[in-house]
């Protein structure tokens, strides 16, 4: 069964290029990444801190501003005319797409709510045009939607600084979901929530996604969230996608040495085993290791790893890995 993907990311490359006191720096934060997101699918993305997840999301959403530059490849949404992408789309086209087709909950966006506006006004600013109807209709819809996120109607009267971190985070999720977009990009949207509220919020995202048949790209470090919520999971390390597949397969049979480490570093209640972080230092992306970027920290590294970059290979149905030590077909 092959369905047309709603998003196809094809050999996408985006680098930060800057110079500081005459020192030129190029950071390959998104380096040749390919994957598809199907309609009605939640695609999760995890990976090392500063491996390029946020940069990948920005590039996909067409938010490419200096020093970030698109170097190659493309990200194509099926709701865009063929051979066009969000990057370079004209502002009117973007405005139409934003909120109704594509909404993007940026990492840390709970901190960029306009401090001078009450939450009610922020909702009016963003969503009223898309929702339509009278003021009281809009108010009712907003209140109902907030209650799905376990927020009291009184938050509408508050200013952002009067709310706790988790409350602001839920306000941004509410803003991004109230227009029921086809595609939601969510970058660490639930980090500030307690586990009870988080579970409810994830359930809400899941049910909106099911009701609408929409798709979600969900970035989080919380592997428990990936396990519970996502259908597919991609793992990033140093600007590269190193493994991707069905979430259950990634958890049950992780192949890439970095993925294995990541999954085994998780502590559990009731388990007192000493857990350690990865040895060695995180790669300096301005000067990444040759060959496989994981090789200085990899227990399985061999000579070829130091010189040749491993390509993504298909090792099982919908399971791809980029590692010389894992056998597979070229994909």
């Amino acid at each position: 069964m092959t369905t047309q993907p709603i998003l196809r990311v094809d050999h996408l490359k985006a680098h930060f290029r800057s110079s500081y006191f005459g020192v030129y720096r190029e950071v390959p934060a998104v380096d040749d990444i390919s994957f598809d997101v199907a309609p009605n699918e939640i695609f999760g993305l995890a990976g090392e801190s500063s491996s390029g997840k946020t940069t990948l999301m920005k590039t996909i959403a067409g938010l490419i501003t200096p020093p970030l530059e698109l170097i190659g490849g493309k990200a194509q949404f099926s709701f865009m005319p063929p051979e066009t992408n969000l990057y370079g789309a004209d502002p009117a086209q973007l405005a139409r797409i934003r909120w109704s087709k594509l909404s993007y909950i940026m990492q840390g966006s709970m901190n960029v709510l306009n401090p001078l506006r009450q939450i009610r006004s922020i909702f009016r600013d963003f969503a009223a045009v898309h929702i339509g109807g009278s003021n009281s209709d809009f108010e009712t819809k907003t209140v109902n939607h907030l209650s799905r996120l376990r927020l009291d109607p009184s938050v509408l009267d508050a200013y952002p600084h009067e709310l706790s971190g988790g409350m602001r985070q839920r306000v941004t999720i509410a803003l991004a979901t109230i227009c029921r977009p086809d595609f939601i990009i969510a970058d660490e949207p639930t980090t500030a929530l307690d586990v009870i509220v988080q579970k409810e919020v994830l359930g809400m995202i899941r049910s909106i996604q099911r009701e609408m048949g929409s798709s979600v790209l969900f970035v989080t470090h919380d592997m428990g969230v990936h396990a519970a919520l996502t259908d597919k999971l991609g793992i990033m390390y140093a600007g590269c996608l190193v493994e991707a597949g069905r979430t259950a397969d990634i958890f049950n049979a992780p192949q890439h040495p970095y993925t294995r480490h990541l999954i085994h570093s998780l502590p559990r209640i009731g388990d007192t085993v000493q857990r350690t972080g990865l040895t060695g230092t995180p790669p300096n992306l301005a000067n990444p290791p040759s060959g496989c970027r994981f090789h200085p920290r990899c227990p399985l590294a061999s000579d070829i790893c130091r010189t040749e970059r491993p390509m993504m290979r298909q090792i099982a149905t919908e399971h791809r890995v980029a590692c010389h030590a894992v056998a597979g077909d070229d994909a």
């Binding site: 500063s50 946020t54 901190n111 009267d157 988790g166 660490e188 209640i269 350690t276 972080g277």
Partner: protein, 271 residues
């Protein structure tokens, strides 16, 4: 034993909303606990979103007045002192905030903060000493001064920024660190490296850490004692592993049961 930090029935109320919709919020209600001077520990605060954890942290840091009760550090009341006393206090108690994006001024370079902290609270007398102190602290969190020099906050990832914030807190060699969700933005591997680092700071430097988190598994892993908060109140308190293995209060049980396990996939797919 003398107390490092004592909270005695600490409360805080706010009024929120516009003139017409003003209402009162009891953000923190009668919270009491003590952290001893000679028994460094990691003291976790977990609980509901909006239950007053950050407000409590801000009161301990002297950033917000208490509305009721008393809060003392080594016997002295927190808040309302001269500038000199305030600097001495700030050297002893250092914060790591909930969100690294909030903690840094976007217009100032990252190394500026570390050098400033080293000069102000860390006893460094010149730039060379300040740089050395900053580099030591950065290396404790897996970074180095040369890596971050000249960079602005927006040029760093969330995880990098949080590590810088922890390094900045370490520069003044404090007695107590108040860490408000310090690992919520970093990967699982780094998360373990950072909580292990907290353990080392406790064991080797005799530092106490108030660790506010939504991650019950790391609280179980590293904390000595914990309190669980709901609606401004402490609903359960005790040894971290005991409480989390066998929570007594209904809210604590609910919380423990809602933890999403990475061992069970797809638990949210059927509604």
């Amino acid at each position: 034993m003398t107390a490092l930090l004592t909270l005695n029935n600490v409360s805080k109320s706010f009024t929120r909303g516009g003139i017409l919709s003003r209402h009162r919020i009891e953000a923190v209600k009668n919270v009491s606990f003590t952290i001893e001077n000679n028994r460094p520990e990691i003291f976790a605060i977990i609980g509901e979103s909006g239950s007053g954890k950050t407000t409590l942290a801000r009161m301990i840091l002297g950033m917000q007045e208490v509305s009721g009760g008393s809060l003392t550090l080594e016997g002295n009341r927190v808040g309302g002192r001269t500038r000199k006393e305030r600097l001495a206090f700030m050297a002893k108690v250092q914060p790591i905030f909930q969100n690294p994006f909030e903690a840094f001024n976007p217009l100032k370079k990252i190394d500026y903060y570390l050098l400033l902290t080293a000069m102000r609270f860390g006893g460094a007398v010149d730039i060379a000493e300040a740089e050395a102190a900053a580099d030591v602290a950065l290396r404790q969190v897996g970074l180095s001064l040369s890596e971050i020099r000249g960079r602005f906050p927006h040029e760093m990832s969330g995880g990098q920024l949080q590590r810088v914030a922890i390094a900045r807190a370490l520069v003044s060699k404090p007695r107590l660190i108040i860490a408000d969700e310090p690992v919520s933005m970093v990967d699982a591997s780094l998360r373990m490296a950072i909580v292990n680092l907290f353990g080392e700071l406790r064991d080797k430097l005799g530092l106490s850490i108030i660790y506010i988190t939504h991650d019950l598994a790391t609280a179980y892993y590293i904390a000595d004692r914990l309190i669980i908060m709901q609606k401004g109140e402490v609903v359960e308190a005790g040894a971290a592993r005991e409480v989390l293995s066998d929570p007594q209060h209904p809210y604590s049980r609910q919380l423990r049961d809602a933890v999403l396990s990475p061992q069970v996939t797809g638990s949210l797919s059927i509604q």
